[in-house]
Symmetry: C2
Subunit: 157 residues, 2 copies
């Protein structure tokens, strides 16, 4: 009983007075490239780089058509606008040939990451959204990350 009481006290003290380490960021899940013509872009990447590309997939709820390009350690996602309210339409108006739209980093607990990151820089969403892979995501303001639009995606272990 006494030893149990001491352990319980240590846990409480640890929680209240130590600084928790930042929630870990793991893999680069993908690099998203906005393109004006998805089929031409996939053909270009396949032909020039010899990389394996998926069939195009329409994601109307996310306003994009996507092709996944497999690399040995991560993937590229080629994104074409789909519909009038596509989140990449404005980017392509400024970058007509296409360009890197965002990077996606994996986290293990989206709420813990949001609490940590949101105290330091601006998040674009107050609550996690469901991303294109069906997992919880949040975006960090690009101006606060050296001009890089950064998506955090919760991966289930």
């Amino acid at each position: 009983m006494w030893r149990g009481g001491r352990w319980a006290l240590q846990v409480v003290v640890g929680r209240r007075f130590t600084t928790a380490p930042p929630p870990p960021v793991g893999r680069l899940n993908h690099l998203a490239i906005a393109v004006p013509d998805l089929d031409a872009a996939a053909a270009r990447y396949r032909d020039v780089l010899g990389v394996k590309c998926s069939e195009p997939l329409s994601l109307p709820e996310h306003g994009v058509r996507v092709v996944f390009v497999e690399l040995a350690n991560t993937k590229l996602e080629l994104l074409e606008p789909l519909g009038d309210a596509s989140p990449i339409a404005a980017f392509l108006q400024k970058n007509s040939a296409g360009g890197i739209h965002h990077i996606c980093l994996e986290v293990t607990d989206i709420h813990a990451s949001m609490a940590h990151v949101g105290k330091r820089v601006r998040l674009l969403d107050k609550e996690p959204k469901t991303g294109a892979h069906g997992l919880p995501v949040v975006f960090v303001h690009p101006k606060d990350m050296c001009g890089v639009l950064t998506e955090l995606e919760e991966m289930k272990g």
Copy 2:
């Protein structure tokens, strides 16, 4: 002797009349992010994302100071201009907060990759240069790769 002769003939026919597969592209070696203030950028990435950052390294022959940011499967390279002729100075004039400058893909044979890629899109160099890691590299024109400046780096097996 007869079997040896048949095999030799097959090799010659294979070389002359079959279409060789494209030289393979392997890992995403790194993602280079140009930043106006390297120390501030490294502190930001370390603090916000909890990622491990190297000490800054000056590479005057490449016109940059660099910090390597370790991710689980690849790395980010934060680049600050060094000297008057830095290759990232013009990029930062257009993108004052910083931004993704290029991606680097690993290849196994830079000359074979240049022969294949150079028939299809524009290379920025006629011969491989020695990159920041001391390995042979070549850049592909970003306009030909959907707006993405793409470095190919030869990795020794």
